[in-house]
Structure formats: C-alpha cells, structure tokens
C-alpha cells in the first residue's frame, strides 16, 4: 500500500475503532504506516486532539509513540507530560496489549522526561496505572516495573513502591527487567528498613540464572552482603541453584565487602571501624556508606542480644563491657532503643543501674495469631498446589520425556517400562 498521509491514517483510526476485528485490521494498517507517521512527527500534535484516547486507543498510541520518539517535539511541548498522563489514565487496556512495545516506549519517554525535569514524583501515579493496564495478570513482570521503582527511589516515596512489590512475580518476559526490578526492590526495602524483604529481593538477583556476569548482579551482591550481616550476622554460602558464573565471579568483584564481613565475624568494634576506614572511598563511591554505618550499629545490637540469652539481670556497666561500649550511659541508650524497636524485651531499673531481661510475651493464643496462622496455611497450600501442577505439567512435556527416554538403557526387560516407547 502506498504511504498514506496522516489525515488518512487519522480517518482510519476514527473509523475502525469499533469492534475487535476492526481493531485488528486497524492494527495492521497502522503498522504499515509507521514510517509515514514518524516522518511527520511534528504535525502529529494537532491530530492527537482529534482523537479520543479511550476509544481510539490503538491509533492514539501509534501517533503518540511516533510523536514522542521525536526529540524536538519532546523538548518543545510543554504539555507533553500532561498529554501522556491523560492518555495513560483513559486508554483501554485490551487495545494497548496489542502493541505493548509501543506503549512501553511511550512510557519510557515519559519517564525520561520526568527525570530530566527532576520531578520524579509526578511520574509515580501515572506509571502505576500504566503497569496495571499493561499487565495481563498481576503475576507478570513488565519492563515498566523497574522504571516505576526507579522513580519511587528517586522521589523517596518508598511506600508507593511497596504496592507493586507486594505482588508475586511468576512470569517474566525479559531477564534484564527482573534483575533491575529485584535490585530496585531491594533498595526500596532497605529504605523502609524491612531488611528481610530486601534480603529476599537481592537473593533473587544473585541466584537468577545467568551465563555472564552483569553489573547489576555485582552491585546487588554488595548490598546483599551488607544486608545479610545486618540480619543474621553472617553471609550465607551460595545455594546450590546459583549459577556457576555467579559463584565463580561475584566474590572477586566485591572484596572490600567480604573483608568487612570477615571483620564483623570477629566481633570487636575497633577492628570493624578500622576495616570501614580503610575501605571508606570504595563504600562511598558505591553509595553504600549509609548501609555500612548500619552494619556498625548492628554489631552492638547483636552483642546485646546475645546477652539476653544468658542473663536474667545484668548491670549497665557489665553490658557496656560486654558490648564494647564506652559508658553505661551509652549502653542504656542502646538498650532503650532496642526495647522501643521491639528487638528485645527488658526493663531498665535506673536506681540500681540494672537491666532485667524478659521472655517474649507472645503466647500464640490470641485470635489475631490464629487468623495469621490460618491464612498462612491456606496461602501455602495454594502455592504448593501450584508447584505440584507445574511439576505434573512438566512431566508430560514431550521434550522432557524424549530426553528421559534416551538416557535409559534400551533392553531392560525386567523393569517396568514407565516411558512409552514412542518417546524413545
């Protein structure tokens, strides 16, 4: 078909946005007119106003994409952001899913613009809407996820990121998305001080299948070491399912952090401080200094927590000695902070300068706790069923059966032949 003018395209759009077949037809038409649109990007702005985003979503999308990919238009249009936001809010989800790359590209230019103008906070809500519309199910990871989390990080709106992070992800289109998503997710959780979730996210990054090392994994491993120390006092070994690339190479790129972990294990405060001082610039250049400082304060906490296991009452002076603090006053401050954070259960008797440690008062008898246990059980049963069905599905897969069949000895008449011969 000959290259059509923009007006003709617009007319098509307006005409063919009714039913599904029409939209499909429109789609193929639009694909052919892509170059035409792109060459006339500057003029498209006016035409956009002729179209209604909620009805003519697909067409609008194509035009918008061509428009936004032109850098000149982007710069000059003051309303660029607004128009995209409007589009995202009002577009129809099914039509978008016909041309997901276009949609993603539009959102990316939106994100770039927002970052360029240094107002990341403006991009948060629109992008969240965009993600929800693009996703087929809430278990799917899109490229927009990582962009969204990036904006949350830049704007320091960590809680906004949580709503997306809470979704379980099971389907992934592009591995790079996953790396970035988990890495940013880890950073958001660190910002919110929920170290356990941060650990999970970072763990996913470093144990994801990879054949070559990438920078995201290296950075994630650095943070992983620090978070592991804060949580557990030590860095766990790589689990069996970590890729061999990761196992072999990650340690060589993160030596200062590994030294820090070893220093921490010995337990003396002075050594740890010394270790931090020697590697100060490295930590700073990786922007991990804040986390490193938290590692330092976690050393005190760990020492004090150990004391709760052996003593019923202990004087503040002894606590200060055991945890290598300088004065009983400092010990009191630390203990007070830990009580407030709910990390230990104790009472301070200021008259005697004694601290009494108590047991965890949780008795597991309240309704709330029973509900929690019950919902956990249901959730886990659903998860386990999912796993079971995946396993069943895979064991019926012809490719798998062929592989299994080939590796078995051929003339084994004694054994019950569980693999049908057609797969051999």
């Amino acid at each position: 078909m000959a290259m059509e003018s923009v007006e003709a395209v617009v007319a098509h759009i307006q005409g063919l946005s009714g039913s599904q077949e029409e939209v499909a037809h429109l789609h193929s038409l639009l694909k052919q007119s892509e170059d035409a649109l792109r060459s006339q990007a500057a003029r498209l702005g006016a035409f956009l106003h002729q179209l209604d985003p909620s009805v003519h979503t697909l067409g609008y999308l194509f035009l918008l994409e061509a428009y936004s990919s032109d850098p000149v238009c982007r710069e000059q249009d003051g309303d660029f952001l607004l128009s995209i936001v409007e589009f995202i809010n009002s577009c129809s989800a099914e039509q978008i899913r016909l041309a997901p790359e276009k949609f993603i590209s539009v959102c990316k230019s939106f994100k770039d613009k927002v970052m360029q103008l240094q107002v990341p906070i403006q991009g948060i809500v629109p992008l969240r809407t965009a993600i929800r519309k693009l996703q087929v199910s809430s278990e799917q990871l899109t490229t927009l996820h990582s962009d969204y989390l990036l904006l949350c990080l830049l704007a320091k709106c960590y809680k906004a990121g949580l709503s997306i992070l809470d979704d379980d992800i099971f389907e992934v289109d592009q591995p790079r998305d996953l790396f970035l998503y988990c890495y940013y997710g880890g950073m958001i959780n660190i910002g919110l001080k929920s170290y356990r979730k941060a650990w999970e996210c970072l763990h996913n990054v470093i144990t994801a299948p990879m054949t070559t090392l990438n920078a995201i994994a290296v950075e994630a491993y650095k943070k992983y070491i620090l978070v592991s120390i804060i949580l557990n006092g030590q860095v766990p070994l790589f689990p069996k399912y970590t890729s061999s690339t990761a196992q072999r190479n990650l340690k060589s790129h993160t030596q200062p952090y590994i030294d820090l972990a070893n220093c921490y294990a010995t337990g003396t405060f002075a050594e740890l401080e010394g270790c931090i001082q020697t590697n100060l610039e490295k930590f700073q250049s990786d922007s991990n200094l804040g986390l490193v400082k938290q590692v330092l304060s976690s050393l005190y906490k760990r020492n004090i927590q150990r004391l709760t296991q052996t003593y019923l009452t202990l004087s503040l002076q002894d606590i200060a000695n055991a945890a290598q603090l300088k004065t009983p006053r400092e010990a009191e401050m630390h203990v007070l902070q830990m009580i407030q954070d709910g990390e230990i259960f104790a009472t301070i008797n200021q008259k005697d300068g004694m601290v009494s440690f108590h047991e965890d008062p949780e008795q597991y008898k309240t309704c709330g706790m029973i509900e929690h246990i019950d919902s956990s059980i249901h959730r886990l049963m659903a998860l386990s069923q999912k796993l079971g069905s995946l396993d069943e599905h895979m064991s019926c897969d012809p490719a798998y059966l062929t592989r299994i069949g080939k590796e078995r000895p051929r003339f084994d008449f004694d054994e019950f032949d569980s693999v049908p011969h057609k797969f051999l």
Binding site: F170, V172, Q174, N204, Y241, L312, M354, L390
Partner: protein, 452 residues
C-alpha cells in the same frame, strides 16, 4: 541455695557433699603423697627411673627424649639424656645415638662424648648383616617357598627396626602380608606394623591394621586381643575421638599384663582410659563401664589418683577431683601420647563437672558454687556464660543477686515459632523457585551477545 530435687544418683551422699566441697577439712581422702609416677605440683619431680622401668624397647628411648625436650628443667633433662644414651648403647641404632649426643652437647662430661669407634662398629655390623639378609631373601625368592620368604622379609624388617630405619621396617613388614599363610602370621604381621606405625606417629595405619587383625576367622588369643584394643585406643586418642578411645581402653582385659610394654604400660591404660571416660561419658555410662568394671579395676589399682578422682567426680566432690587433676597435670604433659590432649580433656572434665553440679537444681547460689570449684564468682560467671551460650546448660544468670536460675524452654511457644518460621521460609523458597523455573523455561538466560 534452694535445693530442687537432688538427682537420685547423688542421693547416697546426700547433703554432705554440698557442704564438704568448700572445706575438705575432715575429708579422709586427701590426695596422697606422691608415689612412683604421680608427682605433686611444684618441687617434686617425676621419678624417671621408675617411669622408664615400665617400658621396654624403642619406646623407652623415645619417651626419655620427649621428657628431655619438654621438661624445662636442666637437671631432669640431663638425667633423661643420660639414661637415653645408656639405653641406645645397648642397641644398634647409630642415628639415634648421634642425635642424643648432639642434644647432650657435652654437658654430661667426657664419659658421654661421641664414641666414634662404637658408631663405626655398629654401622659396619649393620652393613654386613643387611647384605646377608638381602642375599638370603633373594635366594628364598628364587626358591619360591612362601614361609621362608615371609621369614626373610620379617627378619629384614626387624633389622631395619633395630637400626632405626622405621620407614624401611614398615615397608618390609607390609610386604610379608602377601606371604602370610595362617591367621597367626597375619596377626603377627599386623602387630609389627602397628608397633612401627605408632613409633612413626601414623595412626591411620594403626586403625587399619587393627581392623585387619580383628577380622581373622580364628579366635585371637586374649593377649593379642588386649594388645589390639590398646592400639586401637591409642589411635582414637590421637584423632581426638575420646569416647571411642575410652571404650577401647576400658575393654582391655587384665591379660595385657606386661606384654605390651614396648608400646604402653598398664598405668597408661588406666590413665588414658580414665581421663577419656571422664571427659566424654555421661553418668550412667561412667558408672557401668568404669566404676563397676571389674577388669578395669585391676588397672585402676595401679594408679590410685585416677581411681580417686573418678570416684570423686561421680560423688560430686568436685574440689578434690579437680585438685587430683591439677596434681597429675605436670606428669601427663610429659607423656608422649597424651600431652597435646591434656588441655582439652581437662577443660571437658571441668565443664562436665559444672554442668553436673547445676543439673539437679532450680536455682544455685553462685557464691557457694564458686567455693565448691575453688574459683572466684566473676570467673565462674564467665565460664557459665560460655556454657550457656553453647547450650550445654539451660539456665539464666541473675547477675545482680548472683544466682543461677534453671530455665526450661517453653515447648509450645518454641513449636509455634518454628512452625511459623518454616512456613515463611517455604513460601520464600517456592516463590523464588517458581520464578526461576519460569526464567529458564522461556530460555531467558542472559546472554553476553544480547545488547542490554
């Protein structure tokens, strides 16, 4: 201190034990004056002559040399070296002779200078004998008579052993294996190999050959059996498996007598067995296998201190038990097999004593306990802290009032906690696994060529 239920097994002694630990004023069993091998700390020395008289053969010299190296006391050192020198002169080992002379360094006077003529004579004799033996062996080999070949290798190995070439002796003893025809031969071969391996310090071979010897189809005579048990015990001791070592030593029958003095003396069996048992057995085992063991009693009679200290431990008289241990320590540090295990064993015994002390009570006054163990309250607190952290004692310290309270974990709460924890971990692992499966399934593995 508040008495909870005192453990039934302590019942015979009753309250008296708790009081008499502090002051042993009228305790009839004070550590006796030193006799023979055991010496009190400070001042009195080990009686070298009596010690060495217990052993025969090469081990005499090795032990004397070890004592000379470790004792730190010039007089004793010289004495040991002198006796070693005399022993060696009776034998044929010129290398060892040279070594001893070097160590003496002329301090023993002109009588003990290097006697080069003796050395040369011994070496010449050795050369001649070696040639003769090798020729004989070759002729036997051509004749292909199994028994003679075996005897030939045996003689050659004996020769090497006498001459101090332990490696060659070992090789030749092992070579006789192929020519052994009866189980007597096999057990003889095993015993020889074991002897050389112990001298060489290669205890893995010792264990191997002990099991080989015990696998023979015929019944071994009881003496050989006891020898093998001792050797096995020594092997376990070296590899720090104290419980197994104790069991082996305790099973050694009294038939051992003085038949194995080229490796171990009866006193040693008692000492090693007793200490390892104390350090590793629990109370019922200690009673059954040690205190009520009639066979072992014969050995214990030879070393009354060890017998006393085991009884004290069982009867909770910790202060005197620990005192006996301290008295034995200097001599044990000079023992060639036990020296590097003394510290570990002592620490274990001390810990066991503390754990046993606190076991029957709900609360214990730390002052009284410190008195019982003859230590300060602060030191005791530190020790208790270590034991609690290692989860050997379930208790908590009230540092303000200096009382130790027993603490029994609430099973129900602990179970709930564990269950919830398991659930959390399961969920996390399965989710991650599903995601990874998905990644691999779509063959979305990060490739280097792909432009990111």
């Amino acid at each position: 201190m508040d008495g909870g239920d005192e453990g039934v097994v302590v019942a015979p002694i009753g309250d008296e034990s708790m009081c008499s630990n502090g002051g042993a004023v009228d305790d009839p069993r004070r550590p006796p004056a030193s006799s023979g091998k055991a010496a009190a700390g400070g001042g009195e020395q080990m009686d070298l002559e009596a010690y060495v008289a217990l052993y025969t053969g090469r081990t005499r010299v090795s032990r004397l040399l070890f004592v000379a190296e470790r004792c730190g006391n010039e007089g004793m050192q010289l004495e040991a070296l002198r006796m070693a020198h005399d022993e060696i002169k009776k034998g044929e080992d010129s290398h060892l002779y040279r070594e001893v002379i070097a160590k003496t360094g002329g301090r023993l006077g002109p009588l003990y200078a290097l006697d080069q003529t003796w050395v040369d004579m011994v070496d010449r004799r050795a050369e001649a004998r070696k040639e003769k033996l090798e020729n004989e062996l070759n002729s036997y080999k051509t004749n292909l008579i199994k028994e003679s070949i075996r005897m030939g290798f045996n003689d050659l190995a004996n020769f090497f052993y006498a001459h101090g070439q332990l490696g060659d002796a070992f090789k030749n003893y092992v070579r006789t294996r192929d020519y052994c025809t009866s189980s007597k031969h096999i057990s003889q071969m095993c015993l020889n190999v074991i002897l050389v391996s112990i001298e060489l310090g290669q205890f893995m071979h010792v264990s191997n050959y002990v099991s080989k010897a015990e696998q023979t189809p015929e019944q071994l005579d009881p003496i050989t059996h006891s020898k093998l048990r001792c050797a096995a015990g020594l092997a376990y001791l070296e590899t720090k498996k104290y419980k197994l070592a104790a069991r082996k030593f305790l099973d050694t029958g009294p038939e051992l007598g003085n038949n194995y003095t080229d490796v171990i003396a009866q006193q040693d069996v008692a000492t090693y067995g007793g200490l390892c048992a104390l350090a590793s057995f629990d109370r019922p085992e200690l009673k059954n296998k040690v205190i009520d063991n009639i066979n072992f009693r014969n050995f214990l009679e030879l070393v009354p201190e060890v017998r006393e200290l085991i009884n004290d431990f069982y009867a909770s008289r910790y202060a005197s038990c620990l005192e006996y241990l301290e008295n034995l320590k200097p001599n044990l540090l000079l023992d060639i097999h036990l020296h590097d295990h003394v510290e570990t064993l002592y620490t274990n015994i001390r810990h066991k004593a503390i754990i046993q002390y606190t076991h029957p009570f709900i609360s214990v006054d730390l002052h009284a306990m410190a008195g019982a163990f003859k230590t300060s309250v602060a030191g005791l607190e530190k020790e208790l802290e270590v034991l609690i952290t290692d989860d050997k004692i379930q208790a908590r310290i009230d540092s303000h009032n200096k009382i130790l309270y027993a603490r029994h974990a609430d099973q129900r709460n602990a179970t709930f906690q564990r269950v919830l924890q398991t659930g959390v971990e399961y969920e996390r692992d399965v989710r991650a696994m599903l995601m990874r499966t998905n990644l691999i399934k779509q063959e979305s593995i990060l490739r280097a060529a792909k432009k990111l």
